[in-house]
Symmetry: C2
């Protein structure tokens, strides 16, 4: 595509059916926020909800809120809402713990269902914490399993009768490359393996239809495109056909069939309740619910269409102004259908370039060694934001504005 | 002791050096709240802090808050504060996940340090989730270990050269009976075992001096006497001498030595940072910090002295009015020094009696099969509250006010 003018972007925003969703977020004025793939923006309803949960439910109704305000049902209730975003039934998704811990649970459950097989297959460029989780699980299980890492293209041939589980993140965190959920799931299952999807960068941003793909297990993150707030609890999906045999290692009281009977031995709850372990962080869960409600209120097809259009526009605007000549290489798939809701460019000075952008209130992030990452959360990012970000990036490169000591100093979180 | 009059209780409150702490909590008027051992009351500062974290840090500063507002340090910072309440050094305590999940980590770490031993020793009446956690861990480790449950009096003789770990909750959740942290730790270690303490009902309420007791590992809860809010994240303690060899199974990105390097393999952080796994729930953690700050602002010796006095007063008031004749049996140690910050009575009609109390705004809780549990959080419970609660209880029993259908109907959370 040819890059539109800034006026054309403003016109696109005026015509955008999702345009008014932006008003539902408390975004700081003057900021182009392209890091919703790392931390989603604050829904205004979350502020109200947090205050209500703290002041009324915790403060006034105290312990009685577990019944009175349904805290006990929160993991299932919010899970049931997320289910609608990922093509699952309400009882197939539950909110609990962190993505990594939920991954530990479903990987254990999957290996338990494939006792005779020993290989967990994944891709080398998977999100590291997923690989660390596998390492920890393998050691815990006594070292009898192995993690095999291959390039995405080699996945089909790497599948064999020792493959217990294929574990993939649907959207690559660096490049935004999108796996074909249905095709990969089918290939894994044809080889007799179970499929575990990490939907961290998918839920709320790209079309996910787990049941249509006959998926087995999935996990995902609450604080990215679901706008659940920093460190929001994560979710866990298990297809209903796996519920009865779903064994997980983190057996705590909230996953018990009768938590308040205080029985001496563990008896798993029927259904996915057994995926719960300890008491959930209610305040964080309440904010997550507000975030999820906001996504559910939007048309999911319109979200995906706008996400693709924003990415296309950004690529066109960067390259149309000579981005390639200035050292930028597109790291994401050019075809929007093969891309999640982010666009990444490589640049040899990626780190200081991103710091210079942030100093101009264009907020993306950097991923080592050289990736500039721009997330386009279609609920609140405008076409003109994509245009402005592209022009700021080009200007910083043309004027070498990134070449200052304060932009080269690394901070704790990059 | 003889039960004081209500006027004498009011005089005790006026003279109470902790009396003004109550104003720091947003307690509902007219409520006698004796369930701070299950969910601590709302500190007013938590409301302010939550609003600030949501509005300013999440909403305005967005992803930059990980550095700008020190989110990345929250688990260590709040852990360091809790350390001061439990006799540990700042780097020996970290906040993460839930109590059950932290227990899973420290039990794994302890078994890993005692590879040649196979028994986890605990008491039959331990909090069930702790026992469930052991069950899950044993199955995960291949069934080579066993959980041995004995009565507290039999612990010393049950220790032998197969005992890898002794796991106990310092304050019994039903009776409030207090283990001697130092003596039990010493006995376990003399037998060559490692000691794991669950401080759920201790931290912020009774004197805990882990390092003076040469403790090995501990976990504890943020939402009871630490007033961290519903489902607040939990804490984990490991003595510094165990840090270098601390292996835990839930290896996630935040426990990595360099989380933002996104290395393909896990490399544990030096020190207790390796006990972290996924991204912490920042909103819930911020509320926890406010709760912990409130406890730290009080004199810990005065807290314990008042806690004991409140319990003594409640027992005297109940028994002085004929509680025993009305079917109440003290389930807690009569000697305050052997008791946590709660008093429990058994009653054959315990469940409806507690519902009748709650209907009169005296909020304790019920634990099957017959325990009425009254927690005395000394930061905000007054002497007159203990007096009023005792009198309401006696009145309900004398008039059989509990004998109504609505009080016998069980709800989801008891």
């Amino acid at each position: 595509m040819t890059a539109p003018s800034r006026d054309e972007c403003l016109a696109l925003d005026r015509a955008d059916p999702l345009g008014r969703c932006r008003d539902d977020f408390a975004l700081p004025p003057g900021v182009v926020y392209l890091d919703g793939n790392s931390l989603g923006a604050l829904p205004k309803t979350a502020l109200h909800r947090l205050d209500e949960v703290a002041r009324v439910e915790w403060g006034r109704d105290l312990i009685t809120s577990w019944n009175k305000h349904g805290w006990i049902d929160l993991p299932r209730r919010v899970g049931g809402k997320i289910a609608r975003l990922i093509g699952a039934e309400a009882d197939e998704v539950i909110v609990a713990d962190s993505t990594s811990i939920n991954l530990f649970k479903v990987l254990y459950a999957a290996l338990d269902l494939r006792k005779e097989r020993r290989t967990i297959l994944s891709e080398r460029a998977n999100f590291p914490t997923d690989l660390y989780t596998v390492e920890g699980l393998i050691r815990t299980l006594g070292g009898r399993h192995r993690l095999r890492l291959v390039e995405p293209a080699d996945l089909p041939t790497a599948l064999n009768d020792d493959t217990a589980v294929v574990m993939l993140t649907q959207v690559n965190y660096r490049t935004g490359a999108l796996h074909d959920l249905q095709a990969v799931t089918a290939a894994a299952q044809t080889a007799g393996a179970l499929m575990v999807w990490d939907l961290a960068h998918s839920a709320g941003a790209v079309r996910v239809d787990l049941n249509a793909a006959h998926a087995d297990f999935a996990v995902g993150c609450g604080y990215k495109y679901l706008n659940g707030g920093p460190g929001a609890p994560a979710f866990l999906y298990a297809a209903r056909r796996h519920h009865a045999a779903f064994n997980q290692p983190l057996t705590g009281w909230l996953g018990h069939a009768d938590p308040f009977a205080f029985e001496p031995s563990y008896r798993p709850a029927p259904g996915l309740g057994r995926a719960l372990c300890g008491t959930p962080p209610v305040l964080s869960l309440a904010a997550l619910e507000a975030g999820v409600d906001g996504v559910l209120a939007a048309d999911l097809q319109a979200l995906r269409a706008k996400s693709m259009a924003l990415g296309d526009l950004f690529i066109a605007a960067v390259e149309g102004q000579g981005g390639q000549r200035l050292g930028l290489t597109l790291a994401s798939p050019r075809n929007a259908a093969e891309r999640g809701s982010q666009v990444s460019f490589r640049h040899a000075q990626g780190y200081p370039v991103m710091q210079a952008l942030i100093a101009r209130s264009v907020i993306g992030d950097f991923r080592a060694p050289d990736i500039l990452r721009f997330g386009f959360a279609p609920l609140y990012v405008r076409y003109v934001d994509a245009w402005d970000a592209a022009h700021a990036l080009i200007d910083i490169l043309e004027t070498q504005a990134w070449d200052r000591p304060e932009f080269k100093r690394r901070s704790a979180v990059t």
